[in-house]
């Protein structure tokens, strides 16, 4: 994959970091390489799902995992092709500690003709102590307006 031009990754990086939902929660892309992405989300009061404890909403973790897994697909392709999430399975291992950054790393395992398979992990202190893990499948959509499953 080393022959993939650097400006392709730059354009992926720009496009992804301009995603409104991603930027709106305050997340940023911190690493992008062929087939792999890492994102960081600083803690913020708008992310809270449990006002008693300050723990972030599970949906925030879902959003980061979906974004990072999707990015890993984009970083595997050698050209811009539209794709959409087909399904996402998430195991929540433990609650994220309030006040601390959340990191998500994702890897694209395989891109077939129509479908791409990914894995993602969310953590705070270390990858060895995950807060959640994801398996995401993405469908290549031939037309920008096509609907997955229709």
């Amino acid at each position: 994959m080393s022959e993939v031009p650097a400006d392709f990754f730059d354009s992926i990086r720009d496009r992804m970091s301009q995603t409104a939902y991603f930027a709106g929660i305050g997340a940023e892309l911190v690493m992008a390489e062929p087939g792999k992405a890492r994102v960081r989300l600083p803690y913020g009061p708008h992310l809270v799902g449990d006002p008693d404890t300050g723990v972030v909403h599970g949906g925030v973790i879902t959003g980061l995992l979906d974004q990072a897994c999707g990015m890993s697909v984009g970083l595997t392709l050698r050209e811009h092709r539209p794709y959409a999430t087909l399904d996402l399975r998430i195991d929540y291992m433990k609650a994220a500690k309030p006040g601390e950054d959340i990191f998500v790393e994702a890897e694209c395992i395989k891109v077939a003709h129509e479908v791409a398979f990914t894995r993602g992990i969310a953590y705070q202190d270390s990858r060895e102590a995950p807060i959640a893990m994801a398996t995401g499948t993405f469908m290549m959509t031939s037309m920008p307006s096509s609907k997955v499953g229709d």
Binding site: Q18, T19, A20, Y21, F22, G24, I25, P45, H46, L47, V48, G49, D50, P51, D52, V56, H57, G58, G59, V60, T62, G63, L64, L65, D66, Q67, G70, P82, A84, T85, L86, D87, L88, R89, I90, D91, Y92, A95, P144, S145, K147, V148, G149, D150
Partner: protein
């Protein structure tokens, strides 16, 4: 949660509208709740900060997962009168159709309630409830 504990102490059912309004992330997404019979219905008007794909434009997959997970939690709290938020153990989200620039709705039902763990199914739709755009199955631990 304090408002759930107060409802339990007063012997009343939890108020889903107040519950959702008290969750900061739901306010960020613009989610509101109402009761229709025994079902909690969530509503999320389209907004800029929900977009995942600016070209279509389409809702972000994470926003869809968030709404479905919130629907599951709200329905579990309403039916069980739990005073703590149920914790997600695992969820699977199937993305059935692209989430368009329209108001979205979601509701959930308890498929199986055990002593500690609850299996919940949730669906999300836009214009037509018969054409869901996404579905969730998940396990939640009672607090």
């Amino acid at each position: 949660m304090e408002l759930l504990a107060r409802a339990a102490a007063a012997g009343t059912r939890p108020d889903p509208e107040a519950l959702i309004a008290a969750i900061p992330y739901c306010r960020h997404l613009g989610v509101t709740a109402r009761l229709e019979g025994e079902a909690v219905i969530l509503t999320m008007p389209f907004a800029q900060q929900l977009i995942g794909n600016p070209i279509l434009p389409a809702l972000h997959g994470g926003v869809i997962g968030s709404l479905l997970e919130t629907a599951a939690i709200a329905q579990v709290i309403y039916e069980t009168s739990a005073i703590k938020l149920p914790k997600p153990v695992d969820i699977t989200v199937d993305y059935l159709r692209s989430g368009r620039a329209l108001t979205s709705h979601a509701k959930a039902r308890i498929a199986k309630q055990g002593r500690r763990v609850i299996n919940v199914h949730a669906e999300m739709w836009q214009e037509d409830e018969m054409k869901p755009i996404a579905a969730l199955r998940g396990h939640f631990l009672l607090g």
